[in-house]
Amino acid sequence: MSYVDYLVRRAIHSVPVIFGLSVLIFLISRVIPGDPVRLALGPEATDQQVAALRAEMGLDQPLPMQYADWLFGVVQGDWGMSLRTNNNVFSDIVARLPATLELTVVTLFFAVLLAIPFGVVAGTNKDRWQDHLSRITALFGVSMPRFWVAIVLQIVFVVSLGLLPLSGRLSDGVAPPPAVTRLYLVDSLIAGQFGTFLDAATHLLLPTVALGLATLAQVMRLIRSDMIDEQRKDYVLAARAYGLPNTLIEYKYMLQNAFTSSLTVVGLAFGFLLGNAFLVEIVFAWPGMARYGVQAILYQDFNAIVGVTIVVGIGFVTANFVVDLLYGYLDPRVRLEEG
């Protein structure tokens, strides 16, 4: 089996995972106690109104029928109506996903970008002050709740120092760039609106730090421990004996091997960030999908719950797929030989 076949097969294997997830979350969302229809219609709603909306949403059908209808709709881009927004859940998610994606991708990018040098420095300076400093930073990053970090950042950088914007994706009076990807950083660059780019970037800064601190800490500690392991290996001793520069040995040869195990964590972190960005999105009034998902849960808006869960599931599957792809790049031994 070639490497390409392997990747195709991995992609095909993802389909039953998503399908299984959809069955599970569809059933769970339907059987949890509560009456979202009555909630959506308000307290004065008559039984006639409640029955009409139930029928309109197909909730008077048996569960297997409801699932079949839902699945049929999904294929056609109709993910069911949100009881809270009265919209097709698909369009609700499409409207909000770019904001969450932008936040998640930028967070992951900077978390990994910073974790690499910090991890390498800590690993190559075991038990020295650099290592202790990274340990304390990692402990802080992992143990501090995201929403707490977010509020502290707002107090320091917005209220006290007045350096950064408080909330949202853009400042008052700054119009979003023409929509191409709906990622403001990308779209503003495409449109050549550098002012908007800077404004969007400053709005991203605090949410990114609040969201990414734990991921940074995790990846940094993993790289650190793997770098320590690598240091004892023969190829490193040989390279040093040849007199190769330390930077080359550490950042090219050792890091490539050390990063392989961290890659799994990075892949999982993407899916995790996608689904868990809600606390940061709420504090920074970030109009993303995670905040939408939380509201959906609170209002038992079950089509929206299913939709968001599926998207997060796809995020996990895609991230793991990309990780598989990168494994092969970083470590040729994991590539499968042609059968």
Binding site: D5, G42, E44, L166, A175, P177, P178, F194, T196
Partner: protein, 561 residues
């Protein structure tokens, strides 16, 4: 190396090719955009501070901080406060609420009359009202708008569904419309404060598959309101621009644009107000948040009596609260002063189900006070012993996640513990709570409920709580009525004369309180955060009506910071 594998260099080439494609696509996009943006001549499209629309942020821009999303912009569907906020500013209601008397008063309808002993209501409309497209608002629009509500069966259509058939809506002339109810319907006038009028021509032109223009109205406004919708980013913000020819006219300091952003986190809302980035908040934050905002130099927090009841409905169809003596014991064991002064932080102890500031409140009713001796007396008279009550287990449901709700539960628990009664406090999500309220068996023994007036009439705090036809909603969790109460409430609804009707409601309140179906705790105060440079705000009793941006003006240069 096997030939089937992708070489690292090959992979890099593929990535490079992909990146180049994206860059090329980007260049193309940039060219297109440059053409589009020539008129603005700006790289960061900043709007000026006129009424030309676009994103706000200017000194004449009103920025409301909403704690929840706007679920719909169709005024026929609105039921909650953000939906009400949108309707209040984009559309006009047939009848409005007078800020001084909190009673229904003329708005689009400049006068009205009843015929057939209150069965038919005839409204005469103003002749100077135009929709935002410049066409005049006529009786046809009113008739269509109400028919539309009855057909869609959403929002407050429940006020009329049982009483009015669309075929009985008659246009008598361009300015006169008549609604013939199937019986005399006393609260009709009050209910029409929740009836917003749409431009029938525009909406009918944009109907899709018999949706009465519902889809169209999610992204467009078609009203005669003070503001015209510019954009709605669902879940995040709504922006609207002043309608220049609004029939009530504009003053120099009126707001040119109206904008609302959804911020749900209290600390962010407070900081937004403190930084001078917001003009107004909603009323649903914790007591402490308002106290903190009041300490900011640029924010004021008015506190006015509110048409709201906070109470614990006692399930009268479930043991042991089916015993009136148990209910009275529970009511006398509760510490009302602590609830009002320490937990709610203001307002007054409630006297019966109708808020004390509402016309039609029975002033002969006396607020409850904690009296443990009387509580023990009633408990001694009850059919259930303390042991039996504890064996059955008393459940008090509170809405999960709110400190005030939890503290109310604990206060109740402390009072009942004095009587030797154990109380289980059960925090539930709102959706679960409303579901449990649909049957007497599943309704808890007592539940924390805030009940706010949706119309300026005691009907919502009596009929909707204690008439058997209203059972099954979270509002009516006492499951309590008697033939006499039901008959009195029905008579009230059928009485067209206002004074006589209010007397009926007062009579009903006395009958209701006799049965002690609720622990009536408080009429909480109304508090919102307002930037110091906003003037003209007035509490108007009905949800969202005080957020009529047209009635407010900016004093000073921009927001106070």
């Amino acid at each position: 190396m096997p030939t089937g594998n992708i070489e690292r260099r090959k992979l890099l080439k593929l990535i490079g090719a992909g990146a180049t494609s994206v860059a090329l696509a980007g260049c193309q996009g940039a060219q297109q955009t440059e053409t589009t943006d020539e008129s603005s001549g700006s790289d960061s499209t900043t709007t000026d501070q006129t009424s030309d629309g676009g994103s706000g942020g200017g000194s004449n821009d009103f920025h409301f901080i909403a704690g929840q999303v706007f679920g719909t912009l169709d005024p026929a569907e609105q039921v909650d406060y953000t939906q009400g906020l949108a309707a209040q500013n984009l559309y006009d209601e047939l009848i409005t609420v007078d800020a001084e008397t909190l009673q229904p008063t003329a708005h689009i309808a400049e006068s009205w009359d009843t015929e057939d002993e209150g069965q038919t209501w005839v409204f005469t409309l103003r002749d100077d009202v135009t929709f935002s497209d410049g066409t005049p608002l006529t009786a046809d629009d009113v008739a269509y708008s109400l028919t539309r509500m009855l057909e869609l069966q959403r929002g407050y259509s429940s006020f009329w569904l049982d009483y009015l058939d669309p075929s009985n809506i008659t246009v008598r002339d361009e300015q006169t419309v008549a609604f013939e109810f199937n019986q005399a319907y006393g609260p009709a006038l009050a209910t029409f404060v929740q009836f917003y009028i749409v431009n029938s021509t525009v909406v009918q032109e944009n109907e899709q598959d018999g949706d009465y223009g519902n889809t169209y109205l999610q992204s467009n406004s078609a009203g005669s309101g003070a503001y015209v919708l510019d954009s709605w980013e669902q879940g995040n913000s709504i922006e609207a621009t002043a309608y220049e020819d609004y029939w009530k006219g504009w003053s120099e300091d009126s707001f040119d644009t109206f904008r609302s952003t959804v911020i749900t986190e209290e600390s962010t809302i407070k900081t937004t107000m403190q930084q001078g980035e917001g003009d107004m908040t909603d009323q649903y934050m914790g007591t402490q948040a308002y106290a903190e905002m009041d300490s900011y130099s640029n924010v004021r927090v008015p506190e006015v009596p509110q048409l709201q009841l906070f109470h614990f409905p006692l399930n009268c169809q479930k043991a042991p609260t089916d015993d009136i003596n148990v209910r009275k014991a529970i009511a006398y064991a509760f510490d009302y002063d602590s609830a009002v002064n320490d937990i709610i932080g203001g307002g007054g102890v409630a006297a019966g189900p109708v808020p004390r500031e509402m016309a039609g409140h029975n002033d002969d009713l006396v607020p409850m006070e904690q009296d443990l001796d009387r509580a023990k007396e009633f408990l001694d008279r009850a059919d259930y012993s303390v042991e039996e009550i504890n064996e059955i287990g008393l459940e008090h449901v509170v809405v999960a996640g709110t400190e005030l709700q939890r503290q109310m539960g604990l206060l109740n628990q402390a009072g009942l513990n004095e009587l030797g009664i154990d109380l289980e406090i059960n925090p539930l999500q709102w959706a679960r709570l409303t579901d449990r309220a649909t049957s007497a068996e599943s309704t808890a023994h007592m539940t924390n409920i805030f009940h706010t007036a949706k119309m300026p009439s005691p009907d919502s705090h009596t009929y909707l709580m204690y008439h058997p036809s209203s059972f099954g909603s979270y509002i009516s969790q006492s499951w309590y009525s008697t033939d006499e109460i039901a008959a009195t409430l029905e008579e009230a609804r059928q009485t067209s004369d206002l004074q006589s009707r209010l007397e009926k409601y007062e009579e009903a309140q006395a009958l209701i309180v006799e049965g002690m179906p609720s622990v009536y705790i408080a009429n909480p105060p109304y508090r919102i955060g307002i930037n110091e440079n906003v003037e003209g705000w007035q509490y108007r009793g009905v949800m969202s009506f005080d957020w009529d941006v047209h009635s407010m003006t900016r004093s000073g240069e921009g927001r106070a910071e």
